[in-house]
Amino acid sequence: MFEYCVDPSVLSDSRWMMCYLTSPKQLAFYTSFGTVLALLAVTAPCALLLGFLGAMASRSHFPPLTIVGRGYTSMVRGIPDIIFFLFIPIAVDQGLEWLRHHWRCPDWTEPIRRGSDFVVCADAKLPLSSASTWIHDLYGITLAVLAFAVVFGAFAANVLYGAMNSVPKAQLETAEAYGMTPRQSFWRILVPQMWVYALPGLSNLWQVLIKATPLLFLLGVKDIVFWAREMGGAKTSTFSYPHPDWRLYYFLVLLVFYLLLTSLSERLFRRGMVKLSHGQATMAGEQQRKAHAA
């Protein structure tokens, strides 16, 4: 970064620190914060969508759909998350490669599973071996997003299912009396009003999701926990920047980061709650109405 960083061993403490904090390895640590934030930004909508579909399926009057919806929520909620985090990426990766193998290399005669080996033809590899590193990284993150979305989608489905049932029945009956079809009353009456009941549960889920991102490391994505552990470990003179065990300081940075993130989102959710309560027949809505009248 700076010209005087060429030989860190001769630098004064403050310059050494400047060089250390701007070394390419350190920059990779900073970038990984972006990875975590990006993961959150992508995962949350995906999980919400899955949750919405799950809740709709659970409410459906068509029995097979109901079974799928309820089965999904109770199964995922009942099985330890970590099993899904380990199972989904491997299963999806090998499943996709298996399908591509049969599509791309139909004349391949050797078996795919040989002992413990899982071998598909080179054209069926996902991503292709020749793809650049960032594509491999992106693929890994995509599988991680999928795993997170499936797990958190199940919890969201349960929250939304409860929220949908909390909307006063009278509202829906009135809609029916006005001649709305079930579909119309669902989208125009039920969905706009259910969010106020869903928000406390969803905000809880969001906080849990933030705290679950260190699991990324388990999936082989180089996230902030990986880098904090790697950079913090004691470094001998093999490295350009030798230092004793600094993991405490690195983990302290993570602690501050996560605390900031959760407290910020808590504030945003509180604001959202005020907005959603407006005009609702809930306690918060009623209070707002009275405050306004007075």
Binding site: K25, Q94, D117, A122, K125, E230, A234, T238, Y241
Partner: protein
């Protein structure tokens, strides 16, 4: 004309097929200097394994790319095809050879050593730290000491300093800089020789790649370039071919 077009497309497709095969993804750990570690100056992996690996790829005319991964899952990721080789200071052992295949060794067996907070720690009956799934961990159980396992080599060093373990067992060339630079750490007892030297791990089904890498290792042994690298990373006293 149509046929010609087909022929060119087919040619182009088969050409990309060959190209795709020529990329070999090399798995390493990136946390075990001087074998493999992440370099401050580049943020990429570096070390003895990487130096040797790059030279082997050049000689075998392979296009190699390095992948850093957790030691715990380094073998499962190989057999499920996430990368094609392991060069991570991994010793050839009969137990590993059951699951994966090895090339001939590219480094002779090097001594492993015990390290503790004083040089008079009694190894018999002590609590000894080692990285999970290493030959050192296996050795600790064999000598009847109590083994505590840690996921990374760094963690074993902190375990000694925190007093979680009385001593640790790891490759001597990894430990030497720590003992030299940290006044609290001492080598304890005698060195032990473990394993059959370092080899490149491969899938059992990957015979072609094994042949290519073996030939490249042969040629590096023959012209002395491998010895030069061994001396560069491990010093003059290290056994050479």
């Amino acid at each position: 004309m149509k046929h010609l077009l087909f022929a060119t497309t087919a040619l182009a497709l088969s050409a990309t097929g060959v190209l795709a095969q020529d990329v070999v993804r090399m798995g390493t750990e990136g946390a075990y200097p001087p074998y493999n570690y992440i370099d401050d100056a580049t943020g990429e992996v570096a070390g003895f394994d990487i130096d040797v690996g790059n030279e082997l790829c050049k000689r075998a005319e392979l296009n190699c790319e390095w992948v850093a991964t957790d030691w715990d899952s380094i073998i499962p990721n190989l057999v499920s095809g996430n990368y094609d080789t392991i060069m991570a200071g991994m010793s050839i052992t009969p137990e590993r050879d059951v699951v994966i295949d090895f090339t001939q060794n590219y480094l002779l067996p090097e001594p492993s050593a015990f390290v503790g907070l004083s040089d008079d720690v009694e190894i018999d009956g002590a609590v000894i730290a080692a990285q999970t799934g290493t030959i050192q961990a296996a050795h600790v159980t064999e000598i009847g000491a109590t083994l505590v396992e840690f996921p990374t080599p760094d963690d074993t060093i902190s375990a000694i300093k925190n007093g979680e373990a009385d001593a640790l067992l790891a490759d001597k060339s990894f430990l030497a800089p720590f003992v030299n630079e940290d006044p609290d750490l001492y080598f304890v007892g005698d060195d032990v020789m473990l394993g059959d030297g370092l080899g490149i791990g491969l899938r059992e089904s990957d015979g072609d790649l094994k042949a290519k890498l073996n030939a490249a290792i042969e040629s590096m042994k023959a012209d002395g370039s491998l010895n030069t690298m061994i001396v560069k990373w491990f010093g003059e006293s290290s056994p050479t071919f």
